[in-house]
């Protein structure tokens, strides 16, 4: 058995329900929903006009170097904010500056070995910026003359465009803003990216590559290109009895810490990460069910847990998107006769599908729910991908 164990010692969360973990959790307890009419762009042309938007978000409150905000997209900003709050929650090197309520590192920041491994989704590609450049070509020559389009129209796009849209920028900016110099990587597996990032970050700690990792997921699908893509893919068509798919956005970052490291500094521990697995299969509902069943069975084998040991399974899709049938089939396969008795919970109906952030959002809320219950609890978090990938995390509070 591996002597290095991994615990969660801090959580930072922004969702449609609130801009920190406690307000998100209070809203869940009050049965509130964060889903409302889209305001970040004009969604009036789409079949689905509701979204789980983070409200009243001001990145300036969290960026140490505000000049960098111009080269970040929404998901990177949410990630930086969640990371700052996670570090503060973990009692690590960040303290609120009373004068302006922004986060600052204290001078003793022990971040030389702090790693960052985030799951992140796509970028909005700043379509408005492109449209502005194309507007310089009223005769639409660029529609049939690609060399003209490349040289004359794309040269009208800001040279920093690439920096804003590169997929690895989430972990990059988190590291820059908090001063983390350890291992740095980004998981780009779309809907399961958040859960997978946490699993991979925990594996780095177990392997002795790091003692501290900032990990989780950050994504926003509240932009025209994402709405257009999901509408084209048919996800905005209601499939009774399930409602239409609702896109959300979130930043969810956890501080993962080697257990002894956390205990030595007297850290508050939310839970231990006991297992993680992921699998891929064909992108139809039977393939998705198979991938999730493999991940579930692998995690049960890693932990030695049985159906009766589990206090909760946090589901990826229950009641909130078209993939519940696949997830239900996976749970039935993995738990057989016990499946009907499994305690299932879900959060997406409150915050929307936060895409690449969703696995980490679910984990953050689940860990918060386990806090203060005063009894040992064990839970699984499922994450199910659009393209037939699945991941499962196992956590426990002892």
């Amino acid at each position: 058995m591996n002597s290095r164990r991994v615990v969660v010692s801090g959580i930072g969360l922004l969702t449609a329900l609130g801009n920190d973990l406690n307000s998100c959790w209070a809203a869940i307890q009050q049965g509130k929903t964060g889903i409302s009419r889209t305001t970040l762009f004009d969604a009036s042309g789409f079949k689905r006009q509701l979204a789980g938007e983070v409200k009243d978000f001001e990145p300036r409150d969290y960026f140490r170097f505000a000049k960098a905000i111009k080269i970040t997209d929404r998901k990177t900003r949410l990630a930086v904010a969640a990371a700052a709050m996670a570090l503060q929650d973990a009692g690590l090197a960040f303290e609120a500056k009373p004068s302006d309520q922004t986060f600052r590192p204290v001078e003793s920041a022990p971040f030389e070995s702090l790693g960052v491994l985030m799951g992140a989704g796509s970028s909005d590609l700043q379509v408005e910026e492109m449209a502005r450049a194309i507007g310089e070509d009223p005769e639409l020559r660029s529609a049939f003359d690609i060399p003209f389009f490349s040289s004359k129209i794309l040269s009208g796009v800001n040279p920093l465009w690439l920096l804003v849209n590169l997929p690895n920028m989430v972990s990059t900016h988190v590291a820059i803003q908090v001063g983390a110099h350890g291992p740095n990587s980004t998981v780009m597996t779309d809907w399961i990216a958040g859960a997978q990032a946490v699993g991979e970050a925990a594996a780095l700690i177990e392997a002795g590559e790091a003692d501290l990792m900032l990990s989780g997921g950050s994504d926003s699908g509240v932009y025209a290109l994402a709405f257009a893509s999901y509408q084209q893919a048919g996800l905005f068509d209601p499939s009774p009895p399930l409602p239409s798919f609702t896109i959300g956005e979130a930043g969810a970052v956890l501080v993962l810490e080697e257990r002894e490291h956390a205990l030595k500094r007297g850290a508050r521990v939310y839970a231990e990460v006991n297992g993680y697995s992921c699998a891929g299969s064909a992108a139809d509902s039977s393939g998705q069910a198979r991938a999730l069943r493999l991940a579930l069975e692998d995690v049960l084998a890693q932990t030695g847990w049985h159906a009766e040991d589990l206090n909760a399974i946090c589901c990826a899709s229950i009641f909130s998107d078209p993939y519940w049938n696949a997830e239900r089939a996976a749970i039935e396969s993995a738990f057989e006769s016990c499946a009907d008795a499994m305690p299932l919970i879900e959060y997406k109906s409150s915050v929307g599908h936060t895409l690449g952030a969703s696995g980490a959002v679910d984990l953050a809320l689940l860990l918060k729910s386990m806090q203060g219950t005063g009894k040992p609890s064990r839970a699984l978090v499922n994450s199910l991908g659009y393209s037939g990938q699945a991941a499962t995390l196992a956590v426990s509070q002892t």
């Binding site: 505000a66 000049k67 111009k70 009208g156 800001n158 040279p159 920093l160």
Partner: protein, 144 residues
């Protein structure tokens, strides 16, 4: 343009440059002085120069080739003004005349070639635009 019109035009040019640089560097226009070094006073990094050049091009509807925007005060018409390692004494005298309010005390040991970007100020950009529009016999195009 008569003299009064030219002064107003230059004033306007400077305000527009300040506004562009302020937006690129996350500053308030009121915090920015014409003599401010983009690097030392306003915190510009290498990628910000790309951004500022693009924003100047968009604001004034021009294309700026290579580094001509930044050469401004530094361009020495006489090669004797620049040596292998930096700026000669003659070159320094010329720069001091052109940039009388620049904070020369930042360079107690003279100016090496690596220091050149630190000499770029708001005024450098304004002067470049002024020369360019004068040469073209045109006024700066209005903002979009």
């Amino acid at each position: 343009m008569n003299r009064q019109e030219r002064e107003e035009h230059e004033e306007n040019l400077e305000q527009r440059v300040v506004r562009v640089v302020a937006a690129a560097l996350d500053r308030k226009p009121s915090e920015i002085q014409p003599r401010d070094s983009l690097i030392d006073d306003l915190g510009a990094e290498s990628i910000d120069f790309l951004d500022i050049r693009f924003r100047i091009e968009t604001e004034f509807r021009i294309k700026v080739t290579d580094d001509e925007l930044w050469e401004g005060n530094l361009r020495a018409e006489d090669p004797r003004l620049i040596s292998e390692t930096g700026i000669t004494k003659e070159g320094m005298d010329l720069l001091r005349r052109r940039m009388p309010d620049f904070r020369w005390d930042r360079f107690p040991d003279g100016i090496s070639k690596g220091d050149f970007p630190r000499l770029i100020t708001i005024r450098t950009i304004v002067d470049y635009l002024k020369r360019r529009f004068e040469k073209e016999g045109a006024e700066a195009p209005k903002s979009q």
